[in-house]
Symmetry: C2
Subunit: 342 residues, 2 copies
DNA sequence: TTGAAAGCGCTAACAG
DNA sequence: CTGTTAGCGCTTTCAA
């Protein structure tokens, strides 16, 4: 086979099959039109022989879909997002789309650049976890009539205008805390990310509600946050132990990691010396013994919901904006000591 | 601002600036052509006012670049690949490209579908880790003149035709084994993935070479492989201990994870009861104490090399196919006991 | 100093 | 039954 200087076009196929471009288009797209079977076969053969592959860009200029979706996440390396991306990509593939994955790195400026580039590509739809939960880039997509599903980070303004898929952060915090309370703990801390996004605050809200339910007064000393880093977790662990807590809700797995390192370095054993529940299920929770008790956020469901919601929008299914909130579940482990209750 | 039914085009801008589409194109692309500053400003203003964003698809039809690259990896969830993807995406972004990330899931059939879709999108270039190291999909890309860099998985046939970026698996296996030998170990096992790709075999080759160098006869009982799973690692750990090894080279982190669970479940402590080196640096190695000794594969360098190689090709830099092999480095930990040597 | 027009590859209305 | 043609949005040559 000789190498062509440029990719084969519909005209090349037409020439080879001794017919017209229109006919080739009809055949290749299986559109309703009666054609002599012989002609149809000839076209198919010609296309195969020269290795014709349709140019999706040209096709899109006639109002067809581009066949490209995008997912913009805030922390690409975070397993929570990575796993959702894997699922979304796979669902999109089934539906015939390729997915452009982008990382805004929690930076609205970068996100702006990314979104403009996506608009320039005239992608068919976008799943977006807005950096800092800001809405202007989503607005940009909407102005260009690109369907957009907000994932995980709710927008503060005009939330009702967008499809939204997330998990119930309040319930997540509540679930973790309640588990510790039911095990008999009373001096329970919350430690997490001092994030500008509302998610963390909602988890703390759940934590507070659980305490209240059990009639435990909350203490300012028991709620600690830091930047999102192992070092921050390490620091907070020391502080909390000093403050005399018996159990901790780790609001974010990145800081939790640092805290567990602190425990191990100081010979503090779980669940004997300290009890805890980790919100999130990063890979490392699976390699520790005793087993870590975690709260599993509904990653698979969220990914599936976001993908299907977007695909429906892209396929012109008309529906009012949906808001899907999923609940977290507790993955029992051995990092919580059950205290005998008198 | 009223919502337009369709995205603004160059003509809309022209109309608003009371000039022609050609002029708008010249202005917006900063092409060499003298224009009255006043006109230029008018065009810019008009474009901004109606929120014009160039349609890259249309632009590409005039022979311009599409602005899309693709990365096809074999195991999207594997941190080794995930981290490289993050870096590649970020380098590509700097250069003005969006990146379509795809997951072939070790399945050449899926890969075929993906590659055809990418060709259909007329992407500008592709970084490919071929499933099972098969070459036909790379060949497909080449037939469509899409620049292609092979990453991590070397192709058995026609390897010299492609740019290739990888790490030296032989050296990686050698490095790990030598570290154990130098610590005084003599009963050293290799345990890993029973993979169809050559990478694993090369690591075993390095293992063997190191043993030979130290005059240690190799034992068949000391080389174990299994499917890529925690359960496989768990099984192999038991078997190796039974075979009386004092140290293990873990050829793949996924099976290593299972083995470490086995150790913990049985109260086998490292480095006292067993020594090991893990090839790879998944997240979980950072949370274990005593610290795990790992071999760091040159992920960042590989990602950067692959990205830049591809960008050069895309930018029409003409060069003979390059083959870049990077070396791994040892990250010292505390999972290797130093045996006093008489 | 600027505009008109051709044409990239494809689809679909329309005309045989 | 099948082919001709217009036109999607853009770039660039050519003409004015």
């Amino acid at each position: 086979m000789t190498k062509p200087k440029r990719s084969a076009t519909i005209k090349d196929v037409a020439a080879r099959a001794r017919t017209s471009a229109a006919t080739v288009s009809y055949v290749l797209n299986n559109r309703e039109r009666y054609l002599r079977p012989e002609l149809r076969a000839r076209v198919l053969r010609a296309a195969a022989e020269i290795g014709y592959v349709k140019n999706a860009a040209a096709s899109s200029m006639k109002g067809k879909r581009r066949g490209i979706l995008a997912v913009v996440v805030a922390q690409f390396g975070n397993t929570f997002f990575t796993r959702m991306c894997v699922d979304i990509v796979s669902i999109a593939r089934e539906a015939g789309f390729v997915v452009s994955l982008c990382n805004n790195d929690e930076d609205p400026g970068q996100e702006r650049v990314i979104v403009e580039r996506l608009i320039s590509q005239r992608i068919d739809g976008c799943i977006l976890s807005p950096a800092l939960s800001l809405g202007e880039n989503a607005e940009l997509l909407r102005r260009h009539r690109i369907p957009c599903v907000i994932l995980e980070r709710a927008l503060p303004d005009t939330p009702e205008a967008y499809d939204f898929v997330g998990h119930d952060n309040f319930q997540t915090g509540y679930l973790a805390t309640r588990h510790l309370l039911e095990a008999g703990h009373r001096r329970i801390a919350f430690s997490g990310w001092n994030s500008p996004i509302p998610n963390v605050g909602e988890r703390v809200g759940g934590y507070r509600a659980a305490l209240r339910e059990f009639g435990i007064p909350e203490s300012r000393q028991f709620i600690l946050t830091s930047e999102l880093s192992e070092a921050g977790g390490y620091r907070m662990a020391g502080q909390l132990l000093q403050n005399g807590v018996s159990a901790i809700v780790f609001g974010h797995h990145d800081t939790a990691k640092g805290s567990l390192l602190y425990f191990q370095d100081r010979g503090i054993r779980w669940p004997d010396d300290i009890s805890f529940v980790v919100i999130g299920t990063p890979e490392w929770t699976g390699v520790l013994r005793p087993r870590v008790t975690c709260v599993l956020r509904p990653e698979r469901e969220m990914a599936a919901a976001a993908a299907h919601l977007l695909l429906n929008r892209v396929m012109d299914v008309d529906a009012p904006p949906a808001r899907k909130l999923f609940e977290s579940t507790l993955l029992d482990g051995d990092s919580v000591r059950v205290i005998a209750i008198s």
